[in-house]
C-alpha cells in the first residue's frame, strides 16, 4: 500500500533561524532529492526549499515508516537534532498531503497571502527533481495537478489583483484615478530609495515620461538616467508640477516643499486635469491641504499602508473562493489517485480471469478441438468477451469506487476468490 506524504516546516511552525538552517542550497538541492529518493521505502521524492518553507513531498511505500524515514533523513542531512526538529514539523498524508501541495502552489499557505513568487519556486524545485530523476508518475501527476490548481486560482479569483506592498499600492492609486497609466507624466521629487522603488513600479506599468527634481542636481541626473528621464532644477519645481500627472516625493527635507498655492497655480496651468501626489517622505513634503484642492489627490505613507490593509482584506475574500477551487481539484485528484492505485490490482484481477478462460479454452481444444480456423477464432473471441464481461463491473468498482469502501480490501478479496483451488483442475 503506497501513500503520498508531505513532511516539512514553514514560517508558521519554525522560527527564521531554524528555517535558514533547514534550507537547501540550490546547488545541493538535486543531490538531496536523489539521496532522499534512494532511501528504501521512499519511491519518489522532491524537496521544496524556499526562505519560508522546507518540505519533502514523497511517494512512500508505507504510511508510518515513510514519514519517519524522511524525518530522520532531514535531521541527519541538515544537522538539526531530531528532538529539536520534531516539534517543528508537520506531516500530511494522502488527501491532506495533496491539499497541502495544492494550497502551497496556489499561494494560500504563503506568509503574504497570494504572493505570486511561490508558484515559480515550486516549478523550479520540481524541475530540479525531474533532472535528478527523483520523481515518478505519482509526483508528476501531483505537481501537474498543483500547477493547474494554481493557474485556476490565479485566473478565476482576484487574489493576485490587489498589491500588498506600499510602492505597488501607489501605482494602484494612480490607476484608480487615471485608469491606464500609459502616457502619464511622472515627476519625482528627491532621489530617495523608496521613491526609486515606486518609480520602478510605475515604469513597469508603462508610464510615459519621468522627470526628476532634487536639491543635488548630481543625484537627480543619476536617477533620471536610470529611468530614461530628464533631470530638472530644484528651483523650477513649481513649473514642472504643471506638466506632471503623478508626483512622487521622497526627500530627506524636514519641511513642506509643495504648499497648496503652488499646486493651485499648477492646476490653473494644466487646465484642471487631475493630479495625484504620493508623498513617501517622513516628515511630509506635501502640505496635506493640497488634497483639498479640486481634482488633486494627495496620499502619504499612512494612506498607502491603509490601501495595503484594505487589499489584504480583499485577498482574504478571494482566498475563500480559492479554497473552493482547491477542494474541487483535490477531489478530482483523489479519484485519479484511486485509479492509479487500482492499476496493478486491476491488472492482477483481469489477468486471473483471462487465465481461467484461456485454460478452459485449451482444455477444450485438447479434447476435440475446433472444426476449422474460423470456429477457433470465434471461440477465442467468445472467451475474451466472457472474460471482459465478468471483469468489467469488478474493475469499474476498483477504479472509480466512491471511496466509502476499502478498494484495497476488495481487490485482495477478488484475488483470493479467483485463486486456482488446490486439488481441483
Amino acid at each position: 500500500m503506497s501513500n503520498l506524504v508531505v513532511v516539512g516546516l514553514n514560517h508558521r511552525t519554525a522560527p527564521l533561524d531554524t528555517r535558514q538552517r533547514a534550507a537547501f542550497d540550490p546547488e545541493r538541492l538535486a543531490e538531496g532529492m536523489r539521496e532522499l529518493s534512494g532511501i528504501p521505502g521512499i519511491l519518489e521524492a522532491m524537496i521544496l526549499s524556499t526562505c519560508n518553507r522546507v518540505e519533502a513531498i514523497a511517494h512512500v511505500a508505507g504510511a508510518p515508516s515513510g514519514p519517519d524515514a524522511i524525518e530522520a533523513w532531514l535531521s541527519d542531512s541538515r544537522g538539526i537534532p531530531r528532538a529539536e526538529l520534531r516539534p517543528l514539523l508537520y506531516r500530511y498524508e494522502d488527501e491532506s498531503a495533496v491539499r497541502h501541495v495544492f494550497r502551497v502552489a496556489s499561494s494560500l499557505d504563503s506568509m503574504i497571502l497570494g504572493e505570486p513568487q511561490i508558484l515559480g519556486q515550486v516549478k523550479s524545485c520540481y524541475a530540479s527533481a525531474v533532472d535528478a530523476r527523483s520523481v515518478g508518475p505519482w509526483l508528476n501527476h501531483l505537481l501537474q495537478a498543483a500547477f493547474r490548481t494554481a493557474k485556476r486560482v490565479r485566473s478565476e479569483t482576484s487574489i493576485g489583483e490587489y498589491p500588498v506592498s506600499s510602492s505597488s499600492a501607489a501605482v494602484e492609486l494612480a490607476r484608480k484615478i487615471f485608469g491606464e497609466l500609459s502616457g502619464r507624466r511622472v515627476l519625482v521629487v528627491g532621489a530617495g530609495k523608496m521613491g526609486e522603488t515606486a518609480v520602478r513600479h510605475l515604469t513597469e506599468s508603462g508610464v510615459g515620461s519621468i522627470s526628476v527634481v532634487n536639491r543635488s542636481a548630481e543625484a537627480a541626473r543619476a536617477l533620471a538616467e536610470r529611468f530614461d528621464g530628464v533631470a530638472g532644477d530644484f528651483s523650477r519645481l513649481g513649473e514642472m508640477l504643471a506638466g506632471a500627472d503623478i508626483v512622487i516625493t521622497s526627500t530627506g527635507a524636514p519641511e513642506i516643499l509643495i504648499p497648496p498655492p503652488m499646486v493651485e497655480e499648477a492646476m490653473r496651468r494644466r487646465r484642471q486635469g487631475p493630479m495625484i501626489f504620493i508623498d513617501i517622505s517622513v516628515p511630509r513634503n506635501v502640505d496635506p491641504g493640497v488634497g483639498a484642492i479640486e481634482n488633486v489627490f494627495c496620499y502619504d505613507i499612512d494612506d498607502l499602508s491603509s490601501v495595503v490593509e484594505a487589499n489584504l482584506g480583499e485577498r482574504l475574500r478571494a482566498a475563500a473562493a480559492a479554497e473552493k477551487i482547491v477542494d474541487q481539484e483535490v477531489r478530482a485528484f483523489s479519484d485519479k489517485i484511486r485509479s492509479l492505485k487500482a492499476v496493478p490490482m486491476v491488472r492482477e484481477v483481469q489477468g486471473r480471469i483471462e487465465d481461467i478462460c484461456r485454460s478452459e479454452l485449451e482444455r477444450f481444444l485438447k479434447k476435440g478441438g475446433a472444426r476449422d480456423a474460423r470456429q477457433l477464432r470465434e471461440l477465442e473471441s467468445m472467451m475474451s468477451r466472457v472474460a471482459a464481461k465478468i471483469a468489467h463491473p469488478l474493475l469499474e468498482e476498483l477504479r472509480h469506487g466512491d471511496g466509502s469502501r476499502n478498494e484495497t480490501a476488495l481487490a485482495e478479496l477478488l484475488q483470493q476468490l479467483l485463486q486456482p483451488r488446490k486439488g481441483k483442475p
Partner: protein, 266 residues
C-alpha cells in the same frame, strides 16, 4: 407572440444576475456570460419589435407600453455597444436593472389591439422617435458614469478604500465615458429636434409650436449644450460636469414624462 418579449425579459434578468455577481466578485467570466445573455435577449427583443411593426403596420412607439419597450431596446443596444468596447464590470450591474425593469413594465401594461393615431402614420416617426430614444439611452449612460465618478471621487478623496473603491471603474475613465455618451446623446437629440421641427411643419404647418414636450426638450438640449461647452473649454472640474450631467438626466425624465399638447397620444 408576446411570449418572445417574456423570453427577452427573462434573459435580461438572468443577464442582470450574472452582472451583479460579476460586479460583486470581480470575475470577468460573469461579465462575458451576462453579455451573452443580453445578446440573446436583444435578438428576441428585436424580433418582437419587428413583429409588432409588421402586424400593427406602424413603428412601435405609439403608446406607452410600446415606447417603454423601445426605450429598453435602445438602452440594451447602447449597453452592448459599450460592453464590446470597454470591459467595465459595473456597467451591466447598473444598466441592466433599467433594461429589465422597462421590459417587464412594458410587458405588464401591454395592450392588444392598439390603433395608432393618424398623425403618426408618417415616415418621420421612425427617424424622430428613433433618435429621441437613442438620445435618452445615451444620456442615461452619461448620467450613470457621472454617478460612478462622484462616488469614486468621494472614496478617493475620503481615503475610504472600501467596496466601491474596489469595484467601480477608475476616475478619469468614468469622466471620459460620461463625455463620450454625452456627445452621442447630444448629436441624437439635435437630430430629434430638427426632424421634429420639419415633421411639425408638414403636419401642423409650423416648425415650432411651443408644446410642453418641445419646450422641455429645448431646455434639456440647452443644459447639455452648456455642459459640452464647459467640458470643451477645460475650465471646469470633472466633478461639476458630473453634477450637471445628473441635472441633465433629471431634465430628460421630465421631457420623457410630459406628453400633453401635440404629443398627447401616448
Amino acid at each position: 407572440m408576446i411570449w418572445i418579449l417574456t423570453l427577452a425579459a427573462t434573459l435580461y434578468l438572468v443577464g442582470l444576475l450574472h452582472s451583479v455577481f460579476g460586479f460583486y466578485q470581480k470575475r470577468p467570466v460573469f461579465r462575458r456570460l451576462a453579455l451573452g445573455m443580453v445578446a440573446g435577449a436583444f435578438v428576441c427583443h428585436t424580433l418582437f419589435l419587428f413583429w409588432i411593426g409588421f402586424t400593427r403596420r406602424h413603428f412601435p412607439i405609439t403608446n406607452l407600453p410600446e415606447s417603454l419597450c423601445f426605450f429598453a431596446w435602445c438602452i440594451s443596444l447602447i449597453f452592448m455597444l459599450a460592453s464590446c468596447r470597454y470591459r467595465i464590470n459595473a456597467l451591466g450591474a447598473f444598466t441592466l436593472p433599467m433594461v429589465s425593469g422597462l421590459t417587464i413594465l412594458s410587458q405588464v401594461v401591454w395592450e392588444e389591439n392598439h390603433f395608432s393615431p393618424m398623425v403618426l402614420r408618417s415616415g418621420w416617426v421612425y427617424f424622430h422617435a428613433g433618435t429621441a430614444f437613442l438620445a435618452y439611452a445615451a444620456f442615461f449612460l452619461t448620467f450613470l458614469f457621472a454617478v460612478f465618478y462622484l462616488i469614486q471621487e468621494k472614496e478617493l478623496k475620503g481615503k475610504n478604500f472600501r467596496f466601491l473603491y474596489f469595484h467601480l471603474p477608475p476616475l478619469q475613465p468614468c469622466d471620459e465615458m460620461s463625455g463620450r455618451f454625452l456627445y452621442i446623446g447630444f448629436a441624437a437629440m439635435s437630430l430629434t429636434i430638427i426632424s421634429g421641427a420639419i415633421w411639425a411643419e408638414q403636419a401642423w404647418g409650423r416648425f415650432w409650436n411651443w408644446d410642453p414636450k418641445e419646450t422641455a426638450s429645448l431646455v434639456t438640449w440647452c443644459i447639455y449644450l452648456f455642459l459640452i461647452h464647459y467640458r470643451l473649454s477645460g475650465r471646469w472640474h470633472a466633478k461639476r460636469a458630473a453634477y450637471v450631467s445628473i441635472l441633465g438626466f433629471a431634465s430628460i425624465l421630465v421631457t420623457f414624462g410630459v406628453n400633453w399638447g401635440l404629443h398627447a397620444f401616448l
